[in-house]
């Protein structure tokens, strides 16, 4: 009997007529799938180690490699699916917690796909964004409920309102928190540069701010998470905004663990921890055991930054997310980021990633409605996160009430990520979620920056087209405008929570 009962996920086939024995695949695979047999002068492949990242196939000069899902079938069973059987084999073998990278991969309904947008016909001309102005400019931060003016003796008015600090976005899309450490230097660098080029923001995650990225700090949101890695007054003051991370959609309620192998000299210096030690983020902030403690941290950060920066609180979408968001706003948050259960991660227990939290669509609708009911919606901006796969998802989120969105996975995919979900191994063949110098050098920062900028540009153009179709020429007129959404194949309860009508109504 074999020691290892888990059959490979993929079957890798090499076409001997095409293979020229160049060994590119051997050099490209960090998982050691491909080995060059010196004696036979042949490349052998071990499918069992293949994660399906396509790196070898993508770089094979003769297209000799094909990768298919393994077809070794269990007896069909709707309850005990192959994934569940394999998970038990793995745990029976190792006795540990199973890990995953990226977001929830289960086939639960994606509500974005059950919502459709409106367009103008006859009574309302659609607007062509190629000929008419189309405004996506978005300001994030606390707004007063009214404008105050000074009037001089002649009745001439001037501005009296002093606005709370705001983030100005040229397009309502930001890069979500991904720490240097979980992703490579070049990946972090590319995100910062693309954010600057597009007039938006990238979030450093909890990994601190590498000294090389400081020139881009005006387009960076720095994170204060439970591990407080890299946090000092300079870190807070150099950034555009500060985000307190309470939760992450992929793993609500638990902390983080950057394995020691990823903590090289640079990561160590940036995180302010010893080299080659595990970076452990506790599950809670140990100075936040309730809402009043959050208020203290928010105002601690505001004091430390002389009230010049918006403070964001990021929470994961859990059952009572609306009440928590309301509490965060009343505690002084200028921006509330909500991360839905399909949000990504570098590493999370699979069981938590796949079973804890609620979809961003419902969480966002509930939070927006709750803040409006309480009359405090203008006091904070809402940023939605948790798997935006296209510009359509983004514009639907804005119509549901989001001020802007965070994209994480889409940005990684733009840089070359193939969603193999093995970020936690540190062996990312695409040079993104790794610190191995042999691998990180594969990601060219100039190319990655360009690809990220292209993605933002493409999505922004698409958003303008859709807005114009609705006869709207400024994004603020769509924000929370649920009249422009209709639901398809949703229950009355879902429609009610989403606050939208059914298609045909």
């Amino acid at each position: 009997m074999r020691k290892w009962l888990v059959e490979p996920d993929f079957i890798l086939t090499r076409d001997p007529d095409r293979c020229i024995n160049c060994q590119v695949c051997v050099r490209q695979c960090a998982n050691d799938v491909h080995v060059h047999d010196e004696e036979a002068d042949l490349v052998q492949s071990d499918s069992e180690k293949c994660v399906g990242c396509h790196r070898c196939a993508a770089l094979c000069p003769t297209q000799a490699i094909s990768i298919e899902k393994a077809s070794l079938e269990f007896r069909p069973n709707g309850n005990w699916t192959a994934d569940r059987i394999r998970a038990v084999y793995k745990q029976a073998e190792g006795g540990g917690i199973l890990l995953s990278g990226m977001g929830n991969d289960q086939t639960l309904p994606v509500l974005w796909d059950h919502m459709v947008l409106n367009a103008s016909q006859v009574t309302n001309p659609s607007i062509d964004p190629l000929r008419e102005p189309m405004e996506l400019v978005t300001y994030l931060g606390r707004k007063p409920d009214r404008l105050e003016l000074n009037r001089d003796a002649n009745g001439k008015v001037s501005l009296a309102t002093e606005l709370a600090p705001q983030l100005r976005l040229e397009t309502p899309i930001m890069f979500s928190a991904m720490s240097y450490g979980s992703i490579s230097y070049n990946a972090s660098f590319s995100l910062a540069r693309a954010a600057q080029a597009a007039g938006t923001f990238a979030n450093t995650g909890e990994g601190g701010l590498h000294k090389d990225f400081r020139p881009y700090a005006k387009n960076l949101i720095v994170q204060v998470a439970s591990g407080r890695f890299g946090v000092d007054p300079d870190y807070l003051n150099v950034a555009a905004a500060v985000e307190i991370k309470i939760g992450q959609g992929a793993k609500p309620g638990i902390g983080g663990h950057l394995p020691a192998e990823k903590v090289d000299a640079q990561v160590s210096a940036t995180r302010m921890i010893p080299e080659r030690t595990d970076a452990l983020s506790p599950a809670p902030h140990h100075d936040i055991y309730s809402i009043e403690d959050l208020r203290q941290l928010i105002y601690g950060i505001k004091e430390a930054t002389q009230y010049t920066k918006p403070v964001c609180v990021k929470i994961s979408a859990v059952h009572n997310v609306a009440a928590i968001a309301s509490g965060a706003v009343r505690a002084g948050a200028d921006i509330v980021a909500i991360d839905g259960f399909r949000g990504g991660t570098g590493a999370a227990p699979t069981v938590i990633r796949d079973n804890v939290g609620i979809p961003i669509e419902l969480a966002l609708a509930a939070v927006d409605a709750r803040l409006r009911d309480e009359g405090i919606r203008h006091q904070a901006s809402i940023v939605a996160a948790g798997s935006f796969r296209s510009s359509a998802d983004v514009i639907k989120a804005i119509a549901l009430g989001a001020d802007a969105v965070y994209i994480g996975t889409a940005a990684l995919v733009a840089m070359g990520c193939h969603l193999c979900q093995k970020c936690y191994t540190g062996k990312c063949n695409w040079g993104i979620a790794t610190q191995d110098p042999m691998l990180t050098k594969r990601l060219n920062a100039d190319v990655a920056t360009r690809r990220l900028s292209n993605l933002l540009r493409g999505w922004s153009l698409e958003i303008k087209e859709m807005l114009g179709g609705m006869g709207i020429n400024a994004i603020e007129s769509l924000r929370g405008n649920r009249e422009h959404l209709r639901g398809i194949a949703l229950s009355d309860r879902d429609l009610n929570i989403l606050g939208i009508k059914a298609a045909g109504e």
């Binding site: 001309p125 400019v137 309102t161 400024a474 603020e476 007129s477």
Partner: protein, 386 residues
């Protein structure tokens, strides 16, 4: 007693004037016009009727209406409520409610003419009201205007078959289902003298005619006639809800009236700035402004993003202090304006303008987002708080 038995004729009438079965958003094309004598001199309704009739083809007979200012000088400090009732039961219920919260100085049927073409008219009554002292004492934090608005919303929302379509002082809205020139004759508007008139002819595409759904939309002394569609309606409605405005009239025009009430009456913005909030300059233009102006406009736009009216519109907003003509930012609906002496005229088409004012001193086509503002000279420059 069973209501239906008391009003037998309602049983066989198709209730075209009832407020049921309506869409929330009113999609329509339309004709609008307005005239203001800034010196306060009065003119009867004949002229504005002829002007709106000159744009007959812009409406389809499913709604017409007028607003007139200065028409009730004998009751000028009292709120003039114009109500339409579907049946006597609604009238009785409304009147007993009005008596609990208001002093009623006078009430009478709104005079109408019998016109072959105007059919299925509701019961039309006007009341001259002020909040009772005990109500003022209970709502010590509210102005009379606030109390009146609260009660208008209450009646329109809760009393079935009753609808307040005008609630300002020394002004009134007159509207119904029909071509506007017929509605004008029906209400005998040539018998009223006003310094400010606006008119509307409606071409709805998705609603059957409902008397309350005709324009102007009136709340307090605001009256709005509107040609266009508010694509930002959902946003504006939820934004206004933050400030206690409940949209109960199922027409997108309603949000325009509430926005001006919020911006001018409650937030004390100058009229020009209120117009810049609902039709702001482009960000790219704001960037190019001198620093003080740039900062002001930036702040205005950041705070009042929810007040931006998107979609094609031309509107005439009238109030005690004067008249505002405004187009959407990229001018997707027509509007022309003219001046002669102390008189200001606006209309959808030059044909109507020339009819009101054959030899203007000045005639122009206002650019998108650039307001035409007329001010009654006897009034303070801005609407004061009651």
């Amino acid at each position: 007693m069973d209501d239906a038995q008391t009003i037998p004729d309602d049983q066989w009438r198709p209730d075209r004037h009832q407020k049921s079965q309506r869409d929330e958003k009113d999609q329509s094309g339309c004709a609008i016009c307005g005239l203001l004598n800034e010196d306060g001199s009065l003119v009867d309704g004949g002229l504005i009727i002829r002007a709106i009739a000159n744009m007959h083809d812009r409406s389809n007979g499913l709604g017409g209406g007028f607003a007139a200012y200065g028409i009730y000088p004998q009751w000028k400090s009292w709120y003039a409520f114009h109500l339409m009732f579907d049946h006597d039961a609604a009238r009785r219920q409304t009147e007993s409610y009005l008596e609990t919260v208001f002093q009623v100085a006078h009430q009478e049927a709104i005079p109408t003419a019998h016109l072959e073409v105007i059919r299925q008219r509701p019961i039309l009554v006007r009341y001259f009201l002020l909040p009772k002292e005990e109500l003022r004492a209970r709502h010590y934090d509210l102005t009379d205007d606030d109390i009146v608005m609260m009660n208008v919303m209450h009646i329109n929302k809760t009393i079935d078959g009753a609808f307040v379509f005008s609630s300002g002082r020394n002004m009134g809205c007159f509207k119904g289902v029909g071509y506007p020139e017929d509605i004008g004759r029906f209400y005998r508007l040539d018998e009223y003298q006003a310094h400010l008139w606006t008119a509307h002819g409606r071409f709805p595409t998705n609603t059957t005619g409902w008397w309350g759904g005709a324009h102007p939309f009136g709340i307090l002394d605001w009256a709005v006639v509107h040609n266009g569609e508010v694509s930002s309606y959902g946003k504006n409605r939820s934004y206004l809800a933050n400030f206690g405005y409940q949209c109960t009239m199922h027409t997108d025009t309603e949000v325009i009236g509430y926005l001006f009430d919020l911006l001018v009456r409650k937030h004390h913005l100058p009229i020009e700035m209120a117009c810049q909030a609902v039709a702001p300059p482009l960000w790219s233009r704001i960037e190019q402004m001198p620093p003080a102006e740039r900062q002001l406009l930036q702040t205005l736009r950041i705070i009042y993003g929810g007040a931006l009216l998107n979609g094609p519109f031309s509107i005439v907003v009238s109030h005690a202090g004067g008249l505002i003509g405004l187009n959407d930012r990229i001018k997707l609906r027509p509007m022309v304006a003219a001046r002669r002496g102390a008189s200001l005229y606006v209309a959808s088409e030059e044909a109507a303008l020339r009819l009101m004012c054959p030899s203007p001193d000045l005639i122009w086509r206002p650019a998108g987002g650039v307001p035409v503002i007329g001010r009654l000279q006897s009034q303070p420059q801005e609407v004061s708080v009651a």
